[in-house]
Amino acid sequence: MSDRHLVRDVLILIGLAVAALAVPALGSEFAVSLALTCLMYIALASSWALFCGRTRYLSLATSAFFGIGAYSGALALQHELGWLSAIAIGAVLATAVAALMGAAVLHLRGTYFAVLTFGMTELIRHAVTYFEKSVTGTVGRVLTVLPERDTIYFTLLALALLAMATSIALRRTRFGLALAGIGADEQRAQTLGVDTRRVKIAGFALTAAFAGAVGAAMSVRWTYIDPPTVFNPFIGFQTVLIALVGGALTLWGPLVAAIVFSLLAETLRLQVPQLYMMSLGLLLILSVLYLPGGLASLRWAMARDAWRALRGAWERRLG
């Protein structure tokens, strides 16, 4: 709850926002597309870490909320409800589903919670597929009303900024303190007066609101959506990976990791897709084993000490 880093954090965020604002005007089509992926994962991973990082409830349901947002956003656009309404509908629907899902599974912890959120994601994906096939008679939807490229870009930038701003703000609120207490010792927090059930559902729903809005904003990038694309579990896995590798308890860790991963993805995935997946796996293993606090816990002092230790060992061998 200290304000020590508040000014610094806000200034960094403003600096990054200005840089991101310049991308559509200055950058190539490829640069914009790359920046868009970065923004998408910044928003997803930061908002995931808001709840899941603090409380240590590992949710694999991000792709469910993303897909719900994408589908409802696409439907809203088809009915010409307007761009902002489409985003808002995506967020609201994802929030509602998260509140229901949370009420059902948030009393479970650890592996059970993770597996159940994944199972529910699959359930939702199959339910949507079934509904589309048997009720609406389609396998996918072609989006015809498409916003400008820059509209999508600035929307995602706004969502990423909002996720970061929420992360900064949360560190200074009772809600954030309650989430941290739940992560440290849920029952102790409860005996000190935290209505843990309500706090958990609210936190889970907040995470889902971001994923839903991001899904709605990204759906138009594909122009054609079907359940396997927008409910792709890979989106959920990658969000978790980014947050964990970056450091789910830190503010900037998920942001840095989101950029690193997006760059890796764009450069490696097209040429050598296996290499990308392998490096993802390797990074996760290394970070869990040696950097449980994530990339953000790396400090220059650590690198210096490691270098000195190496040099010392080398000199001893020579001497």
């Binding site: 709850m1 009772r174 303190l177 309650a178 941290a180 207490g181 440290a184 010792d185 029952q187 102790r188 927090a189 409860q190 005996t191 000190l192 007066g193 935290v194 209505d195 843990t196 059930r197």
Partner: protein
Amino acid sequence: MRGAPFAARGSGALAETALLEARALSVRFGGLTAVDAVDASFAAGELVGIIGPNGAGKTTLFNAISGVTPPTSGQLLADGRDMRGQGPHRYAAHGIARTFQTPRVFADMTVLTNVEFGMQFAGRRPGAAATAALRTPDTILALIGLAAQSALPAAAITPSQQRLLEIGMALATRPRLLLLDEVAAGLSEAEIEAMARLVRRMRDELGLAVVWIEHAVTTLLRHVERVIVLHQGRKIADATPAEVVRDAQVIEAYLGDEMAQPPP
């Protein structure tokens, strides 16, 4: 005012004013009855001890009357209101605070934040008595003697300091009834005396009702006004320390080897 009336068991007049009252409270785990039809009542400003051999059900009773373990049967009333089915945060909102036998401080947070925590939640309820000593986290830290450790992470202080911090966290909820679960276990002689003084201060100066479980019976009996003795889940005595040490059933069940003089 204190002392005598509380020796009377389950009298009707007392039940009306009890902060917390258990009626025929039982907690069963599968085939094991950990707490067996216990009646107990705690009034404002009392200092009560609970003793009993290992496995007598002391901690299970605490868990049941703080909402941590739902009782299998029986009634629990806080200010005469039925608390069944309510979570621990509702007990905290009724002014019932507790510590845990093994300190459960928030290890990564500072000592100060650990104390602030309870103040931010149950301590904020309307009508919570914020007496001078419980006004701010700093006054609480001063009371428990951890002002100098305020900025340290809770994981970095000693186990005996963590016991004090547990009490500070509970005090921050601005309770009326404080449940202390073996806060003197593992402390040195001097530390036990200091702890006993702190307990008395909390009762005398803050006006709290304190219920104190302790394994070190002799220390406990010196400080409390009323003792509840549990044996195999049942309450076998509920009286003043002087009466309890003379109770044949108690001596046989528990105190025999420690307290009773060998016959000449």
